[in-house]
């Protein structure tokens, strides 16, 4: 039965219980469900060629075996078998293959199989997100069959395309513009048409990457002030909506500010996904008059968690993945000793205010087991003894080895080294850090060039930036989209004095980390350079 049909015959309480009832689970019951579903998954996985290739003859009969015999995995462990898209090697038959780019990987893309049962869970959990996005309290949601959604996400075969499929299958919510039309449009065309249709019909939901929704929202003002489209816009708008627009315009004029989406639309639900959402949430709330609700999804893990009406932390869904958490101390030990077998915590073992790297085992016939998807979460609250609630988490960022800008690109040491190599620039040392300017993320590259090039070639910050940008565009498709879609220039260069990195090593006994060194390390690097200048000055 579709959600839309259930909505007609069931009470709100029954619908809420079905989709969002997991929020009332006790931690023990949640873990019971997790372990039971993991048992099923282990049974399917160990019989598959994929599972056997990782188990390498070891047994998988119990949870102890699961922790002892399955190592923590990365996409490299699955790539050979998955990239051929052969269902026969999988624990269950794949209905869909979802893909994403694989920055710094051995292949341009990563693919993840979605089984029928995974899709059912995905569908169920997507509807839960929809209800929660429109709710103010428990059992309270506002979904109607006349609702419309402005959709700022990529279509299939990307994971975000699944959301539109679910909405189409389960609800009568209309996409602005309709998904079929949107697929053949460019990003800006889609937004323009979406807004145009939204002006005529109202927009009830908005869903996209935090950064994208922000830039789409800003685009509204420029669209409505553009003269060329005004007449065509007005033609298709019914009178009551026209009245609303005029009313909004007058109000803005009176308040001497530009038009904001909240003046025209009353959103019922606002959902954002991806990274860096925290940087955009306040602005989005100011623009739309409603604070976005964050959901947590990915190509490999599927839809794993959501915030609620309280917008104060994420709850994991019990039937999407089996969750393990790798403490930072264990990560550090792994770095120092690649053969070290780390200890993970389960959901009922995490500590409040601790940050962890998440390790996922996709349930319901999924391919990935004990998979390091590369995301860091912090536990923001853990239920007290006998309290019937679940732990809440906050998405922090990608793992420190990856620099993710606005959810678009994932830059690694390998990709930067490749860019430097391709550019032919005489950069001998570098370190990269994700930094913020005006609450917006960018990649800050601290570089040092070879002493000989300083005399032979024109080396300036701008020359380096231009060169590197070109090759970042070349190497990384998503990096290109940052500029194209969001219109932001994510690269900043600081040219360090020759010998600064060497001085750092001399002073602190080790090289500075190449990717995301701590802010203190950067400060030390810069202050070393400064002292170097001063020393030279004295000499």
């Amino acid at each position: 039965m579709r959600f839309e049909d259930k909505r007609k015959i069931l009470s709100k309480e029954a619908i809420w219980q079905e989709y969002c009832g997991f929020l009332d689970l006790s931690i023990d019951k949640f873990m019971q469900m997790q372990h039971r579903l993991l048992e099923e998954q282990m049974d399917l996985w160990k019989k598959s060629m994929l599972g056997q290739s990782i188990l390498k003859g070891k047994s998988l009969e119990s949870f102890e075996d699961f922790q002892k015999h399955i190592p923590l995995t990365t996409y490299e462990d699955y790539a050979d078998l998955l990239l051929s898209k052969d269902s026969s090697v999988l624990p269950s038959e794949a209905v869909l293959w979802i893909q994403t780019t694989w920055e710094g990987g051995s292949h341009p893309i990563k693919v993840a199989p979605y089984t029928e049962n995974m899709l059912k869970s995905f569908q169920h959990n997507t509807i839960a997100c929809l209800l929660l996005a429109t709710s103010q309290k428990k059992n309270d949601f506002h979904v109607s069959d006349k609702d419309t959604i402005l959709y700022g996400l990529a279509p299939l075969p990307y994971a975000t395309g699944l959301v539109s499929l679910v909405f189409e299958q389960e609800t009568n919510i209309k996409f602005l513009p309709p998904v079929k039309e949107a697929q053949s449009m460019s990003f800006s065309q889609r937004n323009k048409l979406g807004f145009k249709q939204g002006l005529a019909q109202n927009i009830d939901y908005f869903f996209g990457l935090g950064s994208v929704t922000y830039y789409i929202s800003l685009a509204l003002d420029s669209m409505s002030s553009g003269n060329s489209s005004k007449s065509s816009l007005l033609k298709s708008i019914p009178l009551h909506r026209l009245y609303k627009i005029i009313q909004a315009k007058i109000k803005c004029k009176k308040e001497q500010r530009s038009l904001m989406p909240k003046d025209l639309f009353q959103l019922k639900g606002f959902m954002v996904a991806g990274t860096d959402n925290d940087l955009y949430k306040d602005d989005l709330e100011r623009l739309w008059g409603i604070r976005p609700m964050e959901i947590f999804a990915g190509t490999e893990p599927t839809l794993i968690g959501t915030e609620t009406w309280q917008r104060d932390g994420l709850y994991f869904f019990p039937d999407a993945c089996f969750y393990e958490f790798l403490p930072i101390s264990e990560r550090e030990r792994m770095k120092g000793d690649p053969h070290y077998i780390p200890k993970t915590c389960l959901l009922d073992e995490v500590c409040e205010n601790e940050t962890y790297e998440i390790v996922l085992s996709v349930l319901k016939g999924g391919a990935f087991m004990r998979y390091r998807v590369g995301d860091m979460y912090r536990c923001v609250s853990f239920p007290q003894h006998n309290q019937k609630s679940l732990p809440k988490f906050k998405y922090i960022d990608r793992v420190p080895e990856v620099i993710d800008i606005a959810g678009f690109t994932r830059i690694t040491q390998t990709s930067i080294e490749m860019v430097i190599h391709l550019s032919g620039l005489p950069i001998t040392e570098f370190c990269a850090k994700k930094e913020l300017y005006n609450n917006r993320p960018f990649l800050h590259l601290y570089v040092e060039v070879s002493p000989s090039s300083a005399y032979e070639r024109a080396i300036t910050v701008e020359v380096l930036r231009q060169h590197l940008s070109v090759y970042f565009h070349y190497v990384d498709q998503d990096y290109k989209d940052l500029k194209k879609i969001l219109g932001i220039e994510p690269l900043q260069i600081t040219l360090l004095k020759i010998g600064t990195f060497a001085m750092y090593k001399k002073a602190y006994g080790q090289n500075i980390e190449r990717i995301n060194p701590s802010i203190h390390a950067i400060q030390k690097l810069l202050s070393l350079q400064q002292s170097y200048y001063e020393m030279e000055g004295k000499i």
């Binding site: 007609k8 079905e18 009832g21 039971r36 049962n117 006349k146 319901k364």
Partner: protein, 843 residues
């Protein structure tokens, strides 16, 4: 029909609904509807009483009627707000205050509507209303209220909180109400009480809307109370119209005999009883018939299950009552074998479909049933949280079986469940669920008792270890079968005796021995026909009783069992177990024996013959067997079977002496020490004799060890040590060819085992090592320490005692070591080296 009749009918309807709802479970919504009904009663009742000119005055009833009318916007607003779940207390209070204010103003000033003027027209009272423009204030307020209600409904539908169709009956009701009040103003409808009619229709439509929301059961409408009320009202209506003509008629024709009023009263009562009876029958026919039928079925079912102690029969009855009463396609009854065990299907009416499934005890459906403790519709379960942790194969099973409803058989815990597929007609209703709950509660207790009875009964008739029939029940069955089948029918008895079970136990421990016996029982059960009566008569003896089975067939089946038995351990690769073989004796009635006693005797003789012939064979009783038995009886009884083999043992030990004199002396010493120790711990004579013989033979395997290893000076290499260790198996290898001496094997094979389990060849520990082996271990080690060897000098007695003490609980049985040390210290055991030296010096 007069105006009064309409009003009465309307009032009857309102009261009827009011009474029906009073009996239901009340919530805020029901209360708001009750208020609405009260308001309608005030309005219609007041109007009716006014038109009938009831006391105290028409103006009084007019005021009552107007109170109802003016409160109507508020009561509707209140009801609709409850219906859509809008929590707008402030607005409701505002409308209440406005209504109260309007009423107070009008009551004190009659400014909005004055009491109507009464005019007599052709003996009829006509009420003429004089409207002023003030009335439009009231109308305006009503319209505003109606608009606000409409807006609230619109918002509710727009937000998706409620579907528009849910409001259809209510909106239709309000529209009809407004239409009725509007049309009455038109001349064409003058005299027709459309306002009252529209009020009735509205009330019923609202009632319908509430019913659709499942707020109450429709059967409330047909309660006894309502039945009486309707009968009374109908009778009164009838008599209000015909009372006068009837009284006149009676006065005209019968007044001479009776007072007309008495006759009228009797007729009145008679009519009332008739109407009530007819009405009740009619209602029973429509509503109660099914319920009554179900109650009858339930009663019969309850009687049936109470009178049986068979789980199967109860399950059959459950299927029957459910299929017959509800018209369910297929029913599956599942039960738990024991606490914390899975739920297995025990009966189903779907004989042609899969019947071998079970549900794990941790199946989320079980948890859901435990939580709900009530019937569960599969569609509801699919929407539950527990369903989310179901495995795909568990879901597929339920889907495959097309289960629609699950009935828990639950008391303190879930002992079983009944799975139902879809009904032939319609879906499962609330009434069906109630009925199923009743069936479940009756069945649960009956099933629990029956299961307990079956367990106790099974325990009483069967052997605990193998599950076969026990000796007592077997003989009962034997007698019954003989009597029942008659003397002319064939009864064949196979007696089975497993060979060398004692040796098997001593070799591998009683645990392995028990396992072998259980396996043998399973083989017999599997191989013999279902009609065979199989029993374990004693430790290693079994009996199989076959009816209408030829000797030839019985022998073939026995051969089959014998073959399987002999091969049980052949595929075990962890360690080689001796084959468990069996000997079989067969006899039959009427071919060989004429009564059960004889049958058993002959089968026993055949079995004995099988044993005598070398075991592991099947023998059918015949005359030869009989004569052989006779001969056996005549042979001399052995007083001590062991002494028979003494010569053989000395011959063997002499063989060792020729090769290795030390081993010969050592064996004799060990025999001495071991026997002394065995006597000291109170073992019987025959056991001590076995230990003595085992001690003499324990190192016989050294015959097979090279002399250069046996007499090597210095430490043995690992390879040489392995060869030396092999002497234990060698010993067994030699002794096993002497069947008459096989009883010493368990002792010999275990003399190098250690108390802590680190010995060889089997690595067994503690009590698993036969007592003889433990004794031999102490004796053997002690003699090894105190003897002089080619590679070592003899240790002192003190050193040996110290070593025995320190190894107690490690190499040696701590109790035996302690006793042995005590015997040495007290001088009860003499050091054999000293003894030998003494003897030599004497010589």
């Amino acid at each position: 029909m007069s105006y009064a009749s309409f009003s009465i009918f309307a009032l009857v309807c309102y009261f009827y609904l009011f009474l029906a709802l009073l009996a239901s479970q009340k919530n805020r919504l029901i209360f708001s509807f009750l208020i609405l009904l009260v308001d309608m009663i005030l309005w219609t009742g007041g109007s009716f009483a006014m038109r009938m000119c009831f006391g105290p005055s028409t103006s009084f009833w007019f005021d009552i009627s107007l109170i109802g009318l003016i409160f109507m916007p508020y009561v509707f607003y209140n009801f609709i707000s409850e219906f859509i779940g809008k929590k707008d207390e402030k607005m409701r209070r505002l409308w209440l205050y406005i209504s109260i204010a309007l009423n107070v103003i009008n009551y004190t000033t009659h400014i909005f509507l004055e009491a109507p003027e009464m005019i007599m027209v052709h003996n009829d009272v006509v009420f003429i209303y004089h409207f002023t423009w003030w009335i439009y204030i009231v109308i305006g307020i009503c319209i505003i209220c109606a608009l606000q209600i409409a807006y609230n409904v619109y918002c509710c539908v727009r937000n998706g909180d409620r579907m528009f169709y849910q409001f259809t009956p209510i909106l239709a009701g309000i529209s009809i109400l407004l239409l009725g009040h509007g049309l009455i103003m038109l001349d064409i409808f003058k005299g027709i009480p459309l306002d009252i009619l529209s009020g009735i229709i509205n009330a019923f439509l609202v009632f319908y809307a509430l019913y659709k929301k499942h707020l109450f059961n429709l059967k409330l409408l047909v309660s006894k109370r309502n039945c009486y009320a309707i009968s009374a009202i109908l009778t009164i209506l009838l008599f209000s119209n015909y009372l006068v003509p009837l009284r006149n008629f009676i006065a005209r024709h019968f007044s001479y005999y009776f007072d007309p009023m008495i006759i009228v009263f009797i007729i009145f009562m008679f009519v009332f009883v008739c109407i009530h009876t007819l009405l009740k029958r009619f209602i029973d026919q429509i509503f109660i018939k099914e319920e009554k039928q179900q109650a009858d079925y339930l009663k019969n079912f309850s009687d049936r299950v109470r009178n049986t102690l068979s789980v199967y029969e109860i399950a059959q009855d459950i299927c029957e009552i459910i299929t017959e009463t509800l018209g369910v396609h297929r029913v599956y009854v599942c039960m738990q074998e024991g606490t914390h065990q899975d739920y297995h299907i025990i009966y189903s009416n779907a004989t042609l479909e899969r019947q071998n499934f079970s549900f794990q005890v941790d199946n989320p459906m079980v948890e859901e049933l435990m939580e709900k403790k009530d019937c569960l519709l599969y569609n509801d379960f699919k929407r539950s949280l527990n369903y989310r942790s179901m495995w795909e194969n568990e879901k597929q099973l339920l889907e495959h079986l097309q289960i629609e409803c699950i009935v828990p058989l639950i008391e303190d815990e879930l002992i079983g469940m009944v799975l139902l597929t879809k009904k032939i007609k319609n879906h499962y209703t609330y009434e069906d669920m109630k009925f199923l709950s009743s069936v479940a509660s009756i069945s649960t207790i009956a099933l629990k008792n029956s299961r307990l009875y079956e367990i106790v009964y099974q325990e009483a008739i069967s052997d605990e270890m193998t599950g076969l029939l026990n000796r007592k029940y077997f003989y009962k069955q034997f007698e019954e079968l003989f009597v029942h089948k008659g003397k002319d029918s064939t009864l064949t008895l196979i007696l089975v005796s497993l060979d060398d079970v004692r040796l098997y136990n001593q070799l591998y421990g009683t645990k392995e021995g028990d396992k072998a016996i259980i396996q043998a029982a399973q083989i017999m059960k599997k191989t013999m026909p279902d009609t065979a009566v199989i029993s374990r008569l004693s430790g290693k003896e079994f009996a199989i009783l076959l009816s209408e089975c030829s000797l030839q067939t019985a022998r073939d089946m026995a051969e089959n069992v014998r073959y399987q038995l002999a091969n049980v351990n052949s595929d075990k690769d962890d360690f080689a177990l001796k084959a468990m073989t069996g000997s079989f004796g067969i006899a039959s009635i009427p071919l060989l024996a004429s009564n059960p006693k004889q049958l058993e005797e002959y089968a026993n003789q055949a079995l004995y013959q099988a044993k005598r012939r070398g075991k592991n064979q099947v023998v059918i009783y015949n005359e030869e067997t009989k004569s052989s038995m006779q001969m056996q009886k005549d042979s001399k009884d052995k007083e001590n079977i062991y002494s028979e083999y003494a010569e053989m043992i000395y011959a063997l030990t002499a063989t060792i002496d020729t090769k290795d004199h030390y081993t010969f002396t050592h064996s004799k010493n060990v025999a001495y020490y071991a026997c002394e120790l065995a006597y000291a711990i109170g073992l019987k004579e025959d056991v001590v004799e076995i230990i003595r013989e085992a001690a003499l033979l324990h190192d016989i395997g050294k015959i097979g060890v090279r002399e250069d290893i046996l007499n090597k000076q210095g430490k043995l290499t690992d390879e040489e040590y392995e060869i030396m260790k092999g002497h234990v198996e060698n010993s067994i290898g030699i002794i096993r060819y002497l069947p008459s001496l096989d009883y010493v094997i368990p002792v010999v094979i275990s003399h190098h085992e250690r108390w802590d389990g680190k010995g060889y060849p089997r690595g067994i520990a503690k009590d698993d090592i036969p007592i003889g082996g433990r004794i031999l271990c102490v004796a053997d080690s002690f003699d090894a320490m105190t003897s002089k060897r080619s590679y070592k000098e003899s240790f002192t007695l003190e050193y040996a005692i110290k070593e025995l003490k320190s190894q107690a609980g490690k190499q040696f049985d701590p109790q035996l070591a302690e006793v042995f040390v005590r015997l040495l210290e007290s001088g009860q055991i003499k050091l054999q080296v000293e003894q030998r030296e003494k003897n030599q010096s004497n010589d």
